[in-house]
């Protein structure tokens, strides 16, 4: 997408008053919930330090940690697959489904499966994949993408849900949320019972023990991981913790930052397929490890911190930009600050460079992040990378316009030469008032107070001060 399209999306979102009011309400709830749980600043600071250390250990030595995870999983009977791209990952899920003669899948909420467009691949190949998280179920019925990484259908009203259910699953119209929820339950129970394959995301994979952990409130992810004969878990290769003993802290930080709960309703820890004598549980468990740009991020010491992210959504909830424009305006799998940070890194600055500009760099996201990802510094870095021919991010330097480079080198020359500096100052003092309101500068002056240039610069003022002081002695 181009910056101009993004600007159009933003204008549209800003003019959507009902959406803005609802978003404000929901986000205030999330913020209040988080604050209610983490109400001791000193303790919170210590928890964040500890959580940061846990994740830094992982992203700082990913090769070693991944090999350990793979070995532990194998010992548990979990089959590990590696995918360099989203397409590869989707095809792995498709191949597993076909290998058991399956056609129907049930899936729980997972951002990484959105990232790889899993459903599209499966549907294009004759499979039926059903979203089972209530929010995801709703938006799948109308062909939309998640609005918020932890509240995908946040923008849909109960009246709209009623209309969608009436049209798509054939129930009588109702706008009573309890009845709508009951209808979804009834509809999906049969799907759980009959599905060939269950797909889930992963919140934490434990390298030490080969355990796949899934956090949820509804119970659909447990269904997906327990009822079908095959369970496939898909994860970005960074969502690992070293040791089982790291889990209690990381679980608290993830859930508390997301919703303010002490713990989610369910914390499911899958340690392998059913064993002889077991009465239920999948006969096969697969873990798909996805790269899709992550190993490139790991190569840079600053950027690799992006891989510490737990996908809690707190940075979205505290972002003044997200709060006003919502998730869809970004036109990206991951919206808000976390998306601004990761989309250009995953998919390139060419396609997603505009996101790096959609931040006021106010710093709120970095302050609430449970694992202390320095989101604002990384966003600033991405802005630089867009103009940097020697950068580390995909498509770095794509925006390095010759005129702009020239302008900055000229600026540097003027600022470092006292003579040129004085000359430029005098010129601006004389001509600054005539700054054009049209042309390239119009975009600046149309939304800002036109700057007034002083006839004296800082150097002149200092000189005057000095002279005064000398005079008074």
């Amino acid at each position: 997408m181009h910056n101009a399209d993004f600007t159009r999306n933003v204008a549209k979102a800003l003019n959507d008053a009902p959406q803005r009011a609802h978003l404000e309400h929901v986000i205030t709830n999330f913020m209040r919930g988080r604050r209610g749980l983490f109400n001791d600043d000193e303790e919170l600071a210590a928890l964040r330090e500890a959580a940061n250390a846990v994740k830094r250990r992982v992203v700082g030595r990913l090769a070693e940690v991944l090999e350990r995870l793979e070995a532990s999983c194998a010992a548990n009977g979990i089959q590990v697959h590696w995918a360099e791209t989203g397409e590869e990952a989707s095809n792995i899920v498709l191949d597993i489904t076909r290998s058991v003669g399956g056609k129907t899948l049930v899936k729980s909420k997972s951002m990484v499966t959105e990232e790889i467009h899993l459903n599209k691949t499966l549907e294009a190949n004759g499979c039926e994949i059903r979203e089972t998280d209530l929010g995801e179920f709703i938006i799948q019925l109308i062909g939309q993408t998640p609005f918020h990484i932890i509240a995908p259908a946040l923008h849909v009203t109960k009246e709209q849900v009623g209309a969608i259910f009436a049209e798509k699953i054939g129930i009588d119209y109702t706008e009573d949320p309890d009845r709508l929820q009951a209808e979804a339950r009834r509809f999906l129970r049969e799907r759980f019972r009959r599905a060939d394959v269950g797909v889930t995301g992963v919140n934490f994979a434990v390298a030490e023990t080969g355990t796949i952990c899934v956090v949820e409130n509804e119970g659909n992810a447990r269904m997906c991981a327990s009822v079908p004969r095959v369970h496939v878990a898909v994860t970005g290769l960074e969502k690992i913790v070293d040791r089982l003993a790291d889990l209690p802290l990381m679980l608290r930080m993830l859930v508390g930052s997301a919703t303010g709960q002490r713990i989610s309703t369910y914390f499911n820890m899958v340690g392998g397929p059913r064993r002889p004598g077991d009465q239920d549980g999948p006969e096969q468990v697969h873990l798909v490890l996805l790269d899709n740009g992550r190993s490139r991020m790991a190569g840079d010491e600053e950027l690799r911190q992006s891989l510490q992210c737990l996908r809690c959504g707190a940075c979205l909830n505290h972002c003044p930009v997200f709060k006003r424009i919502g998730g869809h305006a970004y036109a990206a799998t991951y919206p808000g600050p976390v998306g601004t940070m990761v989309m250009p890194q995953l998919k390139g600055l060419d396609e997603y460079g505009y996101m790096a500009l959609a931040s006021s760099l106010c710093g709120a996201c970095g302050e609430v992040c449970p694992v202390m990802v320095p989101i604002p510094s990384i966003i600033r870095r991405l802005r630089v990378e867009a103009h940097d021919a020697h950068g580390a991010v995909l498509d770095h330097g794509h925006d390095a316009a010759r005129m702009e480079s020239l302008a900055w080198s000229l600026w540097a020359k003027v600022m470092t030469s006292p003579g040129l500096n004085a000359m430029a100052r005098k010129t601006m003092a004389a001509l600054g008032g005539a700054l054009p309101a049209v042309g390239p500068l119009g975009a600046w002056t149309s939304v800002r107070v036109r700057p007034k240039f002083s006839s004296k610069g800082l150097a002149d003022l200092l000189r005057e001060e000095d002279a005064k002081e000398k005079g008074s002695k």
């Binding site: 700082g60 759980f192 309703t265 077991d278 190993s295 190569g299």
Partner: protein, 218 residues
């Protein structure tokens, strides 16, 4: 596909390894004991809309019967070979008002064929109750399988008071969890819930609509 593995690992190995701190700071939540521990556990479980009932072992049968009767529930799945199953069987009145179901290990697919369409309630034992989180910890077994605590609309978790531990961190240590790896473990803090319709919390979406914790005196 093994190519993908090699390529990914090669890229990751090429990255300059960070000097990471040797120790990981430990997080140690509160560590109450005795009545205080029980009170904390009850407080946190009730906060997530779990009904907590404290009973003597001799009252289990009557308490469970009342619970089911109030909800017009007419069957209950339990495992006869667990401590709570044994107590229930001994105390259950033979009036046929509420049937005790047993998971039939010889059935080809009890989960899909009976559990889904018929079971209205289940009662299971737990591995522990962790007070700081406010959740019961289950390690499913062949006699109490994974879906037994998930599919029936009412789930009763029977906890002996002595099974309450201060936190998940202590449970991980107490059970030597990293060594004794169960192939499934689950923490449950309340009834199934969702906030997906207009961000208002609603109970009972895919899992049990009600969670009852029976706190049984040792």
């Amino acid at each position: 596909m093994s190519n993908a593995r090699e390529n990914i690992l090669a890229r990751l190995r090429a990255a300059r390894a960070e000097r990471v701190p040797d120790y990981i700071p430990r997080w140690s939540p509160a560590h109450p004991e005795g009545d205080e521990l029980v009170a904390l556990a009850v407080k946190h479980m009730e906060a997530t809309r779990t009904l907590v009932l404290r009973v003597a072992p001799s009252e289990i049968g009557a308490t469970v019967r009342d619970l089911l009767r109030q909800r017009s529930v007419t069957n209950l799945l339990r495992a006869p070979d667990t401590w709570v199953g044994e107590l229930l069987d001994a105390q259950w009145p033979g009036d046929g008002e509420c049937e005790l179901l047993t998971w039939d290990h010889a059935a080809p697919d009890y989960c899909r064929d009976v559990l889904f369409p018929e079971a209205q309630a289940s009662i299971t034992t737990v591995k522990a109750l962790v007070a700081d989180e406010g959740a019961v910890v289950l390690w499913p077994t062949p006699s109490e399988p994974r879906t037994m605590s998930l599919v029936p609309p009412l789930h009763i978790a029977a906890v002996r008071v002595g099974q309450i531990l201060p936190s998940l961190a202590e449970a991980v240590a107490a059970f030597d969890w990293a060594v004794n790896r169960p192939n499934n473990a689950v923490l449950i803090s309340g009834p199934s819930r969702s906030g997906d319709i207009e961000n208002t919390l609603r109970i009972g979406v895919h899992g049990p609509m009600e969670l009852v914790v029976l706190l049984v005196d040792d």
